[in-house]
Symmetry: C2
Subunit: 116 residues, 2 copies
DNA sequence: GGAATACCCATAGATGTTCTACTGGAGGAA
DNA sequence: TTCCTCCAGTAGAACATCTATGGGTATTCC
């Protein structure tokens, strides 16, 4: 993954974050990005150039389904909803994430102990 | 970053893990991989094709310095040691990692609450 | 009416990390 | 000798993300 110069992004977790956001109900791109940014207290920044490719990717893989509809502001927007497969996928990715965080935590935390 | 089919790797944290491992003292590639895998309880797998490019990258950036020496098994090995800049870099990356984990945790944890 | 301003979707091209799949050498043991 | 383990390394592909665009449509403001 590429860390950017701007140095404020995610890592490989965007799909998981999108799927998690859609658990609350269908939403369009703009809202998804807003919810993630807001919920993370502005730590996570979702670029449009990352968001839409991710959404298309998720749809290709059958994790989400989309349809056109009017946004809250009466604009044309493409809404995405979680599929049953997407819900299962979210579980898989979340479990993987948790175990990664724990594993990395163990490496970061083995304070000064010399392993021989 | 690319998640692989084998589905058992890291994300963009390899540099941080290597730097953290070197806090315990100089080590060569094989040992670094072993320590990370062992400490993470076999959750993290370090491929050689990822490890050596990462090591060279870290050296190019001045986070580590290397020298040749004999391994514990009396084989020729390139040892890497943390530089002062590398130590500072580790702090930066660790802080970033922690804040990312917390941020993602907030998104994953806002159980069912609808944000409007 | 016309202009400015959100809002909303989208893509091309570049960048950077990691993976797979190799190659190759050197030490120790059988 | 042969075989196995240790150790380093590279090329090429795969993939997610970023930067930088472009465009279209409602609302508001002059």
């Amino acid at each position: 993954m590429g860390r950017s110069k701007k140095e404020e992004l995610l890592l490989g977790t965007l799909d998981m974050l999108i799927l998690r956001t859609l658990v609350m109900g269908p939403a369009h791109g703009h809202t998804i990005a807003y919810v993630i940014e807001h919920t993370s207290e502005e730590v996570l920044q979702i670029e449009q150039g990352s968001l839409y490719p991710a959404l298309h990717r998720l749809e290709d893989r059958g994790w989400v389904a989309s349809y056109w509809g009017p946004s809250e502001n009466n604009r044309k927007a493409r809404f995405y909803k979680l599929t049953a497969a997407g819900r299962r996928r979210l579980t898989v990715e979340t479990n993987r994430w948790q175990s990664m965080v724990e594993a990395i935590g163990r490496v970061l935390g083995h304070a000064g102990r010399v392993v021989e």
